[in-house]
Symmetry: C2
Subunit: 568 residues, 2 copies
């Protein structure tokens, strides 16, 4: 403290001074030409300063480091340190990370791995204790984190991650109440996840101490949540892009309660449009003042998550600073993390260090999968079918006439089959359903990234290819694969919990592009559908409408399993 005070007072030289930049002031909405003095990784002062090292910032704009209000690193398929390499060049210096995915595979060990690997890189992953492991009782996963487990995790976590089990909250499930009481006692933030909640439900949910929501898809939903006291996290993910729809909620009154997040963003987006910088850029393009947009990505998020040590360029804050060419063009030139230059011209200046943690590897545990295992035996031809909604993680519940031969579904109706194969504890469970709008021909696609329990999902138009694809996933210990006419085309291995690669972003981007291209061009997957990502969300039963887990078809409206056959 003394050293920083002396630097602030001008009695000692700063370690580094960024000289004469246009300093963005999120407290007042002003832009001020000033120096930023940095000492021991913290901002010592903003004004006129000398440093042991000085960098001319004239004409450039300096912003606080961007904070992503809610994300799952696992969704990028990058390990934490490779993720950091990917987002730092875009200006994201802090992320509120919910390791919900890996926790559903590996439990506390998974959370530990994420925290530990993050320590190797100049990125502050503020990890939330996953609240829903398992996500629901409606699927088998790899671990269980009860209230005691959450309590333990809160020794190393920043708060509690998204509470997808909204029914558990509003109907006072015992374990849910214990988790929330634990958060309340510790005074930590609890993230929400409650799309389209009714007013009474919202009151119950918020009153239970859940203060954020990133699931707003329309203005009415977002306004209701703001009114009842929530921070609304405006999401631009890869699958779910809500910023344009939610833009009308942003005004001078609501601004402080609005935060940006990405939730789930894929590598191709990280390579092309970036990360939170892209949320900011879109908001500016839509007409928001650049400083307001930056405030949403910095101060607002820091306040929302009680991060008093960041979110603004002022004395005492961590020196996380993004250098931008122009507040409208919004190209990130350089990024300082804790006062060190860590990215320049789109390149990270540090190396990823993927931990070889045995506890998060070799996580696929299931029997060999045969064609027979995947057969769908039905009597009635009037069936419930999952209807894909392009560009969305929600589905519709359709009624269709299925083609049957000798009591077995035979694919002749042009629908695809989707199976969820339990892969954590070898239960032998396989959920089998039908899906419309995927359009696969002469092949199968399989993936071990399958929200939220990350069993193996396989989708295809014949049982043989489906069995080959699922077996390939088992063979490599998790990944993404495409099979055509009885042959594996290629596989992206995801050895970390079956969710993440230990390779870098370029490799993952190349492999996913290759697999996607094959899926579209050879397997004829619908152009409006993301071949792998869409499948990954088909088991997410906490999102409407009809989904499938290893235990069977699940209807969101009744929040219960339903038979594939529609009884008259």
């Amino acid at each position: 403290m003394e050293k920083q005070i002396k630097v602030a007072m001008g009695l000692e030289k700063a370690d580094l001074v960024l000289k004469g930049g246009n300093v963005i002031n999120v407290y007042t909405g002003e832009i001020e030409v000033a120096d930023i003095a940095i000492c021991d990784g913290y901002i010592a002062g903003v004004g006129s300063y000398c440093g042991k090292k000085e960098v001319n910032m004239q004409g450039k704009y300096l912003s606080p480091g961007f904070i992503d209000g809610h994300l799952h690193i696992e969704s990028t398929m990058l390990s934490p340190s490779n993720f950091a390499k990917a987002v730092l060049p875009w200006g994201t210096t802090t992320g509120i990370c919910d390791p919900h995915e890996i926790a559903n595979v590996c439990g506390e060990d998974g959370v530990d791995y994420m925290i530990e690997e993050c320590k190797n890189v100049p990125f502050d992953g503020m990890f939330m204790a996953p609240s829903c492991v398992p996500a629901t009782p409606y699927e088998n996963n790899g671990a269980n984190i009860d209230a005691k487990g959450v309590d333990k995790l809160l020794q190393k976590c920043h708060g509690i991650g998204e509470f997808m089990n909204a029914p558990g909250v509003i109907y006072c499930d015992k374990d849910v109440m214990d988790k929330l009481k634990c958060a309340k006692a510790k005074g930590v933030v609890v993230d929400g996840h409650y799309p389209l909640a009714g007013n009474k439900e919202l009151n119950a949910y918020i009153g239970a101490g859940i203060t954020t929501d990133h699931e707003c898809v329309d203005v009415e939903d977002a306004c209701n949540k703001l009114r009842r006291g929530m921070y609304v996290l405006v999401r631009e993910g890869s699958a779910t892009r809500n910023l344009r729809d939610l833009f009308p909620i942003i005004n001078s009154k609501t601004l402080r309660r609005l935060v940006f997040c990405t939730d789930d963003r894929q590598v191709h987006d990280l390579l092309s449009i970036g990360h939170i910088n892209n949320n900011i850029k879109i908001a500016i393009e839509m007409g928001l003042s650049p400083i307001d947009a930056i405030t949403m990505a910095t101060l607002n998020c820091a306040e929302c998550y009680k991060l008093n040590d960041r979110g603004a360029l002022s004395a005492g804050k961590i020196a996380d600073i993004v250098v931008i060419d122009d507040i409208y063009k919004f190209n990130v030139l350089e990024v300082y993390k804790k006062g060190k230059l860590v990215a320049k011209d789109g390149k990270a200046l540090f190396e990823a260090k993927v931990l070889d943690n045995k506890k998060v590897r070799n996580t696929v545990h299931c029997n060999d999968i045969t064609e027979d295992d995947l057969k769908l035996k039905i009597n009635s031809d009037k069936v419930r079918v999952i209807g894909i909604e392009p560009h969305n993680v929600t589905t519709t519940s359709l009624i269709r006439k299925a083609s049957i031969t000798k009591g077995v579904y035979d694919f002749k109706d042009g629908l695809s089959k989707i199976c969820v194969i339990e892969r954590h504890k070898n239960t032998g469970n396989i959920g089998i359903g039908l899906i419309e709008g995927y359009g696969i021909k002469n092949g199968a696609i399989a993936v071990s990234v399958a929200h939220d329990s990350h069993n193996i999902i396989v989708c295809g138009d014949n049982d043989k290819d489906m069995a080959i694809a699922a077996s390939e996933i088992k063979r490599v210990g998790g990944g993404m694969t495409a099979v055509h006419n009885g042959k594996v085309y290629d596989t992206l291995e995801l050895p970390i919990a079956g969710l993440m690669s230990d390779k870098n972003i370029d490799y993952i981007a190349t492999m996913t592009a290759k697999l996607n291209k094959f899926a579209y061009e050879v397997l004829n997957v619908e152009k409006e559908v993301e071949p792998f990502m869409t499948l990954s969300f088909m088991s997410l039963v906490v999102i409407p409408q009809l989904k499938i887990s290893d235990k069977g078809l699940f209807d969101y409206q009744t929040f219960s399993f339903v038979d594939i056959e529609v009884k008259e």
Copy 2:
């Protein structure tokens, strides 16, 4: 938690529902016609609800309880429970209270007394651990609270009170650093007090973890503090009224960083214009939107002080609710504290309970005071004189020609004499000075409320009356008295630490009015000067320019003692 959730969900009846009022929403800036359901003292929901008891609020406006961002209860001369009775009817349900005054007399015992008495009444006094006991090394006080003491107090206090010792911060005084490190480690708020700080000094001060300031007197000072990252507390006290001057700083960007406070407010103001409601009212009269003004008094203050359980009308917040007739007229009709009606039509519906705590009584310890003790012996007639600045606590440092007889000041020049008599530990110290602009004739006024060490201050135009007045203060164990031609006119006894009465607001108002009237009409004190309060601030050496302590005349600019005689 379960019960509140059930009420929120409409599955159980609320304890109380305020029906159909115009609910002020500080999150969105809207006014919504809605019911507020209350359960166990907390808001369970806002919407449409049924209750065991229902109160029709149609046409009325419902605001979150007002929070005073910074105040010294002692300045009202009311004990905490009588203070609560005085402010609750005006809508103040929470106060960030700095027991700096009583701590300078009684130390930790004084803080304990304030906290304990507050527990008897429906008012949340969030007490800050006084940072400056003694306020400076330049005066004798009754106690010492070092860094260890602050650490201990933080077990029962909310944060650290105003850090008046700004030089101690920016020049890294060891004990000051220890206090600030303790606050940082505990993550608590530290209040500032740094009028007209320079930019480098502000960086140093803020970087040390001090996040608020209530001493801004002009727009430039306030803007500088906002820019550098402080919350600015816009003060309307009795002696210091800054809101009109600071009004231009309020805009849609800065609003969230602005908070209302009263600091020091006298009983006559509490009876006539009220408390934080008056800050709000003035801001509205000046053109601020009523909801913005209310937001400053509620949500902003709650955020500034990390009070997550209040500041808005939403589920999970304490049911502190102010019922107002009209958002422009702004008359407070009723006040609910923790869901209970505690004030109606300007009257508190509860009783004060003044604690008979021996540790805060009988606190005047000094020798008998004689005329001789107060004589000012000087050789040169060119003297430094304290210049009163009407309506302000600052003074000027004047040079005047003093009238001397046989080496002793003889009053013939029309100046008044001011003495500060140490009264805590019987040191025998008496600081003697001259003052211009007070105008007293044929008498003396004495008071044991004397910031910040609360020695006895006496001012008069003859030594005899001054000695009588000081002796009267000693006799009653602290208070305010007026003496005319050798006789005590009347005395307001302040038995609690020599600072507070155990009587109610009406008694104090009557007595102070009576004493003030006498001071003006009989003793000829200048009309532009508050006879007692002005004296109380003459020993406040942390405020410019020339002040006096029991150790002598003190100059703010050099921050050192100066001789009364001006050497050529």
